[in-house]
Symmetry: C2
Subunit: 210 residues, 2 copies
């Protein structure tokens, strides 16, 4: 199909498609004449994935490029790709006071050790967690992490089991890796929305309107 | 304190502090001379909250302004403020095909009815969930929502209970509302990081390295 048709099918404008090609997110179409290229269903599928990661997952174009590089490298064994796909999605934030950060790191270390999670301490999500715990301390809610810790951990262990079951039911390896990426990024959006709804339900029950 | 001291304590630059004042996120300091203002600990606390919502929560300046307006209105009964604080944080995304969106809405409605969650169908998080489920369908993972639904719901019910317990232990109402905002936004960051770590742990156990 031509780029106009690809744009119509996906709702992504032609200049944006060209931008993704320039940034290496989307392969260039097959040239059919010096100034015309043809795009396939694979382009369409990839483009939908890019949009979902950006629109719903809130990833930057640079982060999407990194995630797709991991998806496209067939040399990686499954568990490494799973690790990498999760890794690239980690938020990097927080540049606050070093003392609070070291205290937060101690809390996170103790938490990981107590739960017995097999996680490399250099995993970027460890750093994200340390950043979030540091931010909580700086706004005077340093105890939140300690108070909700094990309830959250129980919950995410259940979520991770469901996520891995979902991924395990996918057949082809390229589908599998894509599933991990989609499940991780869009799963976050699903969970955040569901958590807000569960808050509403729980507060209405605890504080019934007059 | 002067604005320079406020900047030093919080790590937020003076022009950024002035920008927050212009945008209505932060109250202006008390004028002590025609071109000098004095800031209090309350300013410092509010500024830390603003930075946490932006840096760790990923909220826009406009979204922070809406959340803070809800925090600052003492006329709202607790359960409405809880609802509003969660509400304002909802992500608004997705503008895709109407057919897929209506199908996703049907799935979300059926899910809410089955779980018996007391949630107004006009709650913005319902729309966020519909958007995320629509995006999943468009990338060929429409079954993810159905497959992980009840495991996710069990998990977020546990999380919501822990969150409400945390909030319930706070004493003053203004602290309570601030706790909800902080817990919701920073809690999302904590949960996303923990979910990635739980993924790593679960994949290493299921697919052990050779």
């Amino acid at each position: 199909m031509r780029i106009g048709e690809l744009s119509r099918r996906t709702g992504v404008s032609v200049p944006t498609i060209k931008y993704y090609v320039r940034e290496g997110l989307l392969q260039a179409g097959q040239l059919t004449s010096p100034n015309q290229a043809s795009y396939s269903e694979l382009h369409e599928r990839r483009l939908r994935l890019i949009r979902a990661l950006i629109d719903v997952g809130g990833l930057s174009v640079a982060a999407v490029a990194e995630v797709l590089a991991a998806v496209d490298d067939p040399a990686r064994p499954v568990h490494r790709v799973l690790g990498t796909a999760s890794t690239r999605i980690a938020v990097e934030r927080g540049d606050d006071g070093e003392g609070e950060k070291e205290a937060a790191r101690g809390e996170v270390e103790a938490f990981l050790a107590r739960r017995g999670w097999c996680v490399d301490r250099s995993h970027p999500a460890v750093e994200s967690l340390v950043g979030a715990v540091t931010a909580l301390a700086r706004v005077g809610h340093g105890s939140l992490f300690a108070e909700v810790l094990d309830d959250y951990a129980d919950a995410v262990e259940g979520i991770a089991r469901a996520d891995l079951d979902y991924v395990g039911r996918r057949v082809a390896v390229e589908d599998l890796v894509e599933s991990v990426v989609i499940g991780t990024v869009l799963g976050d959006a699903v969970l955040a929305a569901m958590r807000r709804l569960a808050h509403v339900d729980a507060s209405v029950r605890r504080f019934p309107p007059a």
